[in-house]
């Protein structure tokens, strides 16, 4: 392509391919390419135009960072499907808050899966934070007691793990609603962030996940993991567009420091790599 040249049909196909391969989904990819054609974008304008379009799509969601006020109790309720990376994200987030001088309490809310509590316990030791865990406990009552503890013992960060669940499992989603209701009733002047953890390697089913989880427990933040792999996590675009949910965190590895605040420009630039 020579600078300022008109983009030809093959090149439009390449652009569409890049978008589809980044998991933006066929509808959004086709829509963006149609826009390029309608506006007769020249090849030299291509990248800046696309970048601006991506920013516009993400701006359908509120432009927010992860809620945090050091003078309040900040509660983070972490949910998502099986294996998405919830427990690992909590370990990383706990470490980050601890390094910033906060007093953190983890809640081993996955009382179902083999070794789930032990896994979070190991992360709590790595991050050097406290953990509330109890064999055979009910997740909702653990969350309730954790918030009580936080008030009495001056924790200002409480991060609640939950068991992975597929969005089409009616009973499991109902259970999650119950836990959320208990948390919501217990909140006084505290901050609450309900974080949906999405596996960055997954495809279009992620939109369906976000829809169901949002309808069930009011998601306030998306965390997208495993972006250290080859997938680009393009599903967050249709989530921002359709559900107006903001992405606030990204996971970029299995180590305790492999967590970053979501940055639109960095994320968008990575799409072109």
């Amino acid at each position: 392509i020579t600078n300022d040249d008109v983009i030809n049909e093959y090149e439009f196909d390449d652009i569409e391919s890049m978008l589809i391969k980044a998991d933006l989904g066929v509808d959004l990819s086709v829509e963006l390419v149609e826009k390029l054609k309608d506006k007769k974008i020249k090849s030299s304008q291509l990248k800046p135009f696309l970048k601006e379009e991506f920013v516009n799509i993400l701006n359908n969601a509120p432009d927010e960072k992860l809620k945090f006020d050091k003078n309040k109790i900040n509660i983070y309720f972490v949910v998502g499907v099986n294996g998405a990376g919830k427990t690992t994200l909590i370990g990383k987030l706990a470490n980050k808050f601890k390094k910033e001088g906060q007093k953190v309490l983890l809640v081993a809310g996955d009382t179902f899966r083999a070794a789930a509590e032990e896994q979070l316990d190991i992360w709590s030791k790595r991050a050097e934070v406290d953990i509330l865990r109890e064999d055979k406990a009910d997740s909702a009552s653990l969350a309730y007691r954790a918030i009580d503890s936080a008030r009495k013992e001056n924790y200002n960060v409480v991060i609640i793990d939950s068991a992975g669940r597929l969005q089409n499992k009616f009973n499991l989603i109902e259970e999650l609603k119950k836990i959320k209701n208990v948390i919501a009733k217990k909140i006084e002047n505290d901050n609450l962030e309900t974080i949906l953890v999405l596996d960055g390697t997954q495809g279009q089913n992620g939109l369906n996940q976000a829809m169901v989880f949002n309808e069930a427990v009011d998601i306030s933040a998306i965390a997208i993991t495993k972006l250290d792999g080859t997938p680009k996590g393009g599903i967050i675009f249709s989530i921002a567009k359709t559900l107006k949910l903001p992405t606030k965190l990204i996971g970029i590895g299995e180590g305790i420091n492999d967590i970053k605040e979501f940055n639109k420009d960095e994320f968008i630039s990575a799409l072109f790599d």
Binding site: K21, D23, G25, V81, E118, I122, D199, G203, Q204, E254
Partner: protein
């Protein structure tokens, strides 16, 4: 659904609902859209569409009395054929045999290892679950718990970080314990992580592994193609286990993986509870993808 959309396309030409050059293009575009929406990888979709196009031209769809139905049948049949023969069995013909579970992080290897052990037990084998994930917090405890809860023999070497050494010891244990099949559960890894891929190659060189099974989360997106190809090219996989099919994802990765690697999907997982892994049925998968 795809069949409804195809019916609309053909009906919209108004010409006694026959298939013309124009609406064939529209129909193919709709099929492409359905496959991409189902997360079939783009390059696989392109080659699938071109083979469908040849079949449409070659099979007198144009003269059929119900072109949209004929078209859907061609697509479904082609998809079913590509997804492979029903029930490609596990080749466990040595004593003992070794199965190695491998794949990306969180795909369901540990859970599937226990389910595979149950399946083998039902078939009269004596499986030994071997914990070779020395990285993930509580990974060994996770497999140990699943083994204990389901009466499956288990081997681990808790303070050993050398997977080849642990595997050697597990073989010795298997001999003493009369286990006929060892199932190696390995850590999740990225196919682009050369150190972690080297670990799998080391295991592969040190032991005769009868079945290297790539465990894939059925929700995986476009990356399915390159992930499967990469694991296969670096290690050589014998088959695939597709997990979390109790979800509502279309699972188009099944087509990408089989089409690209020519390796079969041997088993599927459809839930969190430890029950025997089930056989893969290509016709059911085709219906699910086109749903």
């Amino acid at each position: 659904s795809l069949s409804e959309k195809l019916q609309q396309i053909i009906a919209s030409t108004g010409k006694n609902s026959t298939l013309t050059d124009d609406n064939i293009q529209d129909a193919l575009r709709e099929i492409r859209r359905a496959l991409l929406g189902a997360d079939v990888s783009l390059n696989v979709v392109k080659s699938f569409i071109s083979s469908i196009k040849n079949k449409v031209v070659g099979e007198k769809v144009v003269e059929s009395t119900n072109p949209s139905q004929t078209l859907i049948k061609i697509v479904n049949d082609e998809l079913t054929n590509l997804l492979g023969e029903k029930q490609a069995p596990l080749k466990l013909d040595t004593n003992p045999s070794i199965i190695m579970m491998l794949g990306l992080q969180g795909s369901g290897k540990t859970t599937s290892a226990a389910k595979l052990a149950l399946k083998l037990k039902k078939e009269g084998k004596s499986p030994l679950l071997v914990a070779l994930d020395v990285y993930r917090p509580a990974a060994i405890l996770q497999l140990k718990t699943l083994a204990k809860d389901n009466n499956i023999d288990f081997f681990s070497d808790e303070n050993n970080s050398d997977v080849v050494d642990i595997a050697k010891k597990s073989l010795e244990h298997a001999q003493k314990n009369n286990n006929t099949v060892l199932i190696f559960d390995t850590a999740g890894r990225l196919q682009i992580d050369s150190d972690m891929m080297a670990e799998l190659m080391l295991l592969s060189h040190n032991f005769k592994i009868n079945e290297k099974l790539l465990v894939v989360d059925s929700m995986i997106g476009q990356a399915a193609l390159e992930v499967a190809l990469d694991f296969d090219e670096q290690l050589g996989i014998d088959g695939v286990i597709l997990t979390k099919l109790d979800g509502d994802t279309k699972g188009g990765c099944a087509l990408s993986i089989v089409h690209a690697t020519k390796k079969p999907i041997k088993l599927i997982a459809t839930g969190e509870n430890i029950v025997p892994l089930e056989d893969f049925h290509p016709d059911r998968m085709a219906n699910r993808i086109l749903g």
